[in-house]
């Protein structure tokens, strides 16, 4: 009979690798964001729209995209001329720090402003795993229903920005915008919420202003 006190964080291995990635990004003055959503919310469509706009604004970026089995998202972004690295997660439902570390090693940091990670579509697991990002973005769509923030509070709590896509579909659904936004504010009162439609392009410029501000902050803090 015996007892050994351990008191060790189970996520330690992942978190240590994530700290290493964060340090690499800091040393290079590169901002990193982690976009998390349900499957089909429109992350790839969003990047197809926002990517060329970012480029036009002179932002130098790389996209890391995660998918369980296919390279469909990477192919779509490659066709749009966007710089993309694919991670296949196999049977894992999230991207962890080890996978991101490998992808980051492939990226040239010289002159880079931003790394965008498009996580695997899932509102639970990706919120658990620190990948060294500066900001998590909680990405939703009106077709999913307005109760998702209440059902997945950890993601909302951990996020610094919330995007709600497919606003063009609101009139065809029972989506209640104020219920959705109030639920978010109960969990994370300070978070900014952006309404967009990837179909019409409406609202996407709001993301550009937000991200440019974050890039500026990162460069200033790193200097």
């Amino acid at each position: 009979m015996g007892f050994k006190v351990i008191k060790e964080n189970i996520m330690k291995t992942n978190d240590d690798i994530a700290s290493g990635i964060r340090k690499t990004m800091e040393d290079n003055g590169v901002l990193m964001i982690n976009i998390i959503s349900s499957p089909g919310a429109g992350k790839t469509s969003f990047l197809e729209k926002a990517g060329p706009m970012l480029r036009k604004e002179g932002v130098s970026f790389e996209i890391i995209t995660g998918d369980c089995f296919t390279s469909r998202d990477a192919e779509r972004m490659d066709a749009a001329g966007l710089p993309v690295t694919q991670i296949n997660t196999g049977n894992s439902c999230h991207i962890d720090a080890q996978l991101v570390k490998k992808a980051v090693q492939e990226i040239r940091m010289d002159g880079l402003d931003l790394v965008i990670v498009e996580n695997v579509g899932n509102l639970v697991c990706p919120a658990e795993f620190d990948i060294g990002e500066d900001h998590k973005i909680s990405f939703h769509s009106t077709a999913e229903g307005h109760d998702k923030p209440l059902k997945y509070p950890l993601l909302v709590k951990e996020s610094d920005y919330v995007i709600i896509n497919k606003t063009d579909l609101i009139e065809h659904t029972d989506f209640d915008v104020s219920f959705f936004e109030n639920s978010i504010k109960k969990i994370n009162p300070r978070v900014d919420i952006l309404r967009i439609s990837c179909k019409t392009g409406e609202g996407i410029e709001g993301f550009l202003s937000w991200i440019k501000e974050r890039i500026k902050e990162k460069k200033e803090n790193g200097a």
Binding site: M1, G2, F3, K4, V5, I6, K7, E8, N9, I10, M11, K12, T13, N14, N91, S92, C93, H94, D96, V124, C125, E128, F129, P149, L150, K151, P153, L154, V156, K157, S183, K185, K186, I187, N188, P189
Partner: protein, 112 residues
């Protein structure tokens, strides 16, 4: 199914802890898990059972202590236990709060 990745992390930590000779065959593994972590104990048990590990860990039971979400109000200083999706002060209804617990994910210890 983050339980599989989590069970793997547990095994890699525990393999080291049980390697010293004074630790016998482990009966119980005590975890402390915040309610925001969405762990399904039964799935975690199954994943843990099926991962190759030090034989001292075979057959060990996972005992989970669930930690509630507690917040401290930045305005009035009151501490409240809240549900996972309403971070609102129980005294003044303030929303500027600091989370004190609810995100834990620790191995507290092992018993043999």
């Amino acid at each position: 199914m983050h339980e599989l990745a989590i069970a793997r992390s547990m095994v890699s930590l525990l393999d080291k802890e049980v390697s010293c000779p004074e630790v016998g065959r482990v009966r119980n593994i005590y975890l402390e898990v915040g309610i925001l972590r969405y762990i399904v104990p039964e799935i975690l048990e199954t994943c843990f059972k099926n991962i190759p590990k030090n034989e001292k860990l075979n057959g060990a039971r996972i005992v989970i202590e669930t930690v509630p979400v507690r917040i401290i109000c930045s305005e009035c200083g009151f501490e409240t236990e809240v549900t996972a999706n309403e971070f609102i002060c129980g005294r003044c209804s303030g929303r500027e709060v600091e989370m004190r617990s609810g995100k834990e994910f620790n191995i507290r210890g092992i018993e043999w």
